[in-house]
Symmetry: C2
């Protein structure tokens, strides 16, 4: 779906992150090779993101993985969650350019 | 599933929160009367929680609603997300008593 600029697989958890950089945000897509276990959350190293950009999270995964990533990316400029039916929905923002509830067409 | 101690329905969004207090955390269950729209996120007023307690989130809802609530409850002692197959999984914590990946049996 997105052009992949950086990809990494983390062996223990079987999670793969694909990172695509855009002007104002990075799209972080993730895939799971196998069902994730809760304790594997502790070993996940989410990709770093450029200062001053937002983050769009996308992937089929348990809500608790999203919760972990949302906490991790809290310091970024904004966070949006991609919903295939709608687009990427802004859920928190530290900039007036992006408001909660805004929809980004990726 | 939980004993409900406090319930409220927010008319515009059709979201209903049920709050159940336990010793160390509160369980916040939510239900949607109708599909939520992204802009309705802006009008949601999540229930307040006691200082010093964690929060367990539970409900069938879009991931972006969870994302919004996870951001909202970031200042609480910890956050866990209930997964019916597993239990409530801790996804962030400010106390050594609860670690990321811990599972609470409610």
């Amino acid at each position: 779906m997105f052009k992949v600029e950086e990809a990494s697989t983390q062996e223990k958890s079987g999670i793969k992150f694909n990172v695509t950089e855009r002007d104002e945000y990075v799209i972080i897509e993730f895939e799971l090779d196998k069902p994730l276990t809760p304790e594997e959350l502790r070993g996940i190293k989410p990709p770093s993101t450029p200062i001053g950009k937002g983050v769009v999270l996308s992937g089929r995964a348990p809500i608790w993985l999203y919760a972990y990533l949302i906490h991790h990316y809290h310091p970024t400029t904004f966070i949006a969650v991609y919903d295939p039916r709608i687009g990427a929905i802004v859920t928190e923002s530290h900039t007036p350019k992006y408001r909660v509830g805004d929809i980004l067409k990726l």
